[in-house]
Assembly symmetry: C2
Homo-oligomer: 338 residues x 2
Amino acid sequence: MTIKDVAKYSGVSITTISRVLNNHPDVREEVRAKVLKAIEELHYVPNSSARDLGKMQTDTIGVVVRGVGNPFLNSVLHAIEKEVGRADYSMVMHQIGSNEDELAEGASLVRSKRLKGLIFLGGRFDYTPEQIATLGVPFVCCTYTNTFGSLKKTAYSSVYIDDYAEAFRAVKTLTDLGHKKIAVLLGTTDDHSISELRFKGYCDALKSAGIVLDKDLIIEAKSFNIDDAFKATESFLKKGKDFTAIFSIADAMGIAAIKALHTVGLNVPDDCSLIAIDGIQVSKYTIPTLTTLVQPSKQMGTHAVEVLLNVIKEECGSCQLKLETALREGGTLAKPKA
Amino acid sequence: MTIKDVAKYSGVSITTISRVLNNHPDVREEVRAKVLKAIEELHYVPNSSARDLGKMQTDTIGVVVRGVGNPFLNSVLHAIEKEVGRADYSMVMHQIGSNEDELAEGASLVRSKRLKGLIFLGGRFDYTPEQIATLGVPFVCCTYTNTFGSLKKTAYSSVYIDDYAEAFRAVKTLTDLGHKKIAVLLGTTDDHSISELRFKGYCDALKSAGIVLDKDLIIEAKSFNIDDAFKATESFLKKGKDFTAIFSIADAMGIAAIKALHTVGLNVPDDCSLIAIDGIQVSKYTIPTLTTLVQPSKQMGTHAVEVLLNVIKEECGSCQLKLETALREGGTLAKPKA
DNA sequence: CGGAAAACTGAAAACGTTTTCAGTTTTTCT
DNA sequence: AGAAAAACTGAAAACGTTTTCAGTTTTCCG
C-alpha cells in the first residue's frame, strides 16, 4: 500500500497525494477531500523511512539521560515523551552511566540516528563552545542551571530551576525556624553537577543567617541513588556529630535519610528537621510527609521539547527558561529542640 | 558523505561498500580492510533512513506501556531500553492511558513507524486471535500472566510472573501468621487486568486457610496510581471495618495504604500487617520497610527483548518465560493482636 | 592443464517518498 | 474581453541505501 496506489485509486498524481499529506496549500479543497477519502479507504499509512529519505531529515529527537533510576527524572522523561508525540516527532532515549561523557554519547547518537535535536537530561553540562560545535544539531539542557562551567548563560538553550536560589530558599526555611546545625545531603560534587550549585545555595543561606559552615555536616553520597544516600547518611550518623536539621538535595535521598535516622532511633521532625527539593510522587506518602520544594517536572519536560522544536524550526535562537518550585509543606519541619 | 564517496575514495563499487557494512561474506579480506579504513577516514556513517528504505524494515521495536507513572514499570522499561540498545535495535515508547486500547494503539504504532516487533508492558491483554492478527508483527507481553482471556497459553510470547501463585503466596504469609481478617488493595478489576489474577490468588489463599471471603474487605482503587490507592484506603477506613492485615497488589499502593492507616492513628505492623508485590527501590526505605515479593524487573525487561528478538529472527515460535519473585522481609508483618 | 565450482565484484534496478520545474487551468483586474 | 497573476497539477529527478543478476576472477580437482 504505497502512495502510488492511493494516486491511482483517487485519480490524481502522486505529487498531489504528497501535497495533501504535507498540508501544502496548493491543492484544491475538493481534490484534498477526495484524496483524504482514498487514504482512509485504503488504510494507507506513509512509509516513514521513505519520507525521511526524501526530506533528508528524521523528525526525531534524542534524549540523553543520566541517572535514569531517579523518579524525578523519570517524570520529566515521560512528559518529554508525551510532548514529542504531540508534535508528531519521535524520540529516542539514551541512558548513560555516571562516568560516560554525555556530549560524546549525544554526538554519536545524533550521527547514527540522524537526529534533529537533543535534550540533555539530569546530568552536568560543562563543555567549551568548540566541543559543542561537534554536535551539529540544536539541543536543550533540562534540569540544571547553566550559569556555571565554561559557557555563558546564553550560549545554549536550557529549561531549569535556579538551583542556587531554590537551595538557598530551602535552607533559609530551616534557619528561619531557628536551626543552626544544618547538615546537607549531596550527591557527588566532583563533576560540576547540580550538587555544586545547590551546595552553594546551602553555604550562602547559612552565611546570611550568620552560621559558619561546618564541613563535618556535609554528607556526600557517591551518587544520587537512594541506596548510596542511605549508606552515606548511615556512616555520617556513626560519627556522632551534632545537628538538628538536614537539607537533602533530592527527595529520594531525603527519604533514605529519614530511614537512616529512624534506624538509629532519631525521629523526624522531633530530633531532626528535613527539607528536600524535587517533589516526587511518593514523597507525599512517607511518614512523616516530606517537606519539599516541588519542581514542575511535567512542565520542564514539555517546555524542553517546545524550546527545542522552536530552535530547530529556527523560530528563535537559544532560549533560557527558568521555572519556579513550589513549597509543599509536609511534616518534616520543626523548631530545633532546646 | 554518502556510500558513493566511500566507494570513490576506496576505489571499489558501492555494492562492495554495502556488503562490508552488512557483513556479507562475499568480500575479500584485503578489500574489506581497505573499505573499513576508508569509512574510518571519511567518518562515514550510514544513513539509516536510506538503509531502512532499501531493506524495507527498521530494526526498531515499540513498547506500549500503560500506567507509566508506576515505578515498577519504569524499572522494566529502562531494562528494556538497555537491552534493545545492546542488540543494536532502536526503541520507541508509547504511553497509553487507562481507557485506550493497547492493541489498536500498538497496531497504529507499528504501521506508522514500520516496527519489527512490539512489547506490551503493564496492562491487560485480552484479545482474540483475529484481533491480534491485525498487528502483523511479533510481540511479547511483559508483566502479566497470560493464562486468562480468550487466548491459549501458547498463542503468544510472554515474560511474566505467576500473578495468581505469587498473590496466593503473599496472602498465605499473612494467614500463616494467624491473620483472619485480611483486606486486599486492588487497582480496578473491571478490565481483566493483573488485579483480577492477584485477586483470585487472594481469594484462594483465604479459602485454603478456611477463611470466608468478606466483600467488605476489598479496597478497589480507581487505578494503580498511588494517589488513587490512598484515597481508596482512606474511604475504606472511614467505614470502620474490622481487619488486621492488608495485601496490596503493588508496592506503591501499599505505601499509600501505610500512610492512610497512619493518618487515622493505626500503626503498621502493630495494628495492621501489610504485604505487597513489586519490590520497587523506595519500598526499602519506608518506615517500616515494606515486606514485599520482589519481581525481577531488570530480568523481565531484558528477557522480554531477548524473546522478542528471537521470535523476530524466527529462531523460535512463541515462548513463555515465567520468572519468580523473592520475598524481601521488611517490618510490616506481625501476628494479629489478640 | 582444463574445466567446474567457488569467490568475488559491479551496473542497474528497486525501495517510497519529496521536490523541482514546467505546464495548465482559474481568478482577478483593467 | 484580454492580460497578468494566482492557483493548481503532474512528470521526472532526486534522496542513499540494498538487492538482484550477470559477469569476472580465483581456486580446486582430476
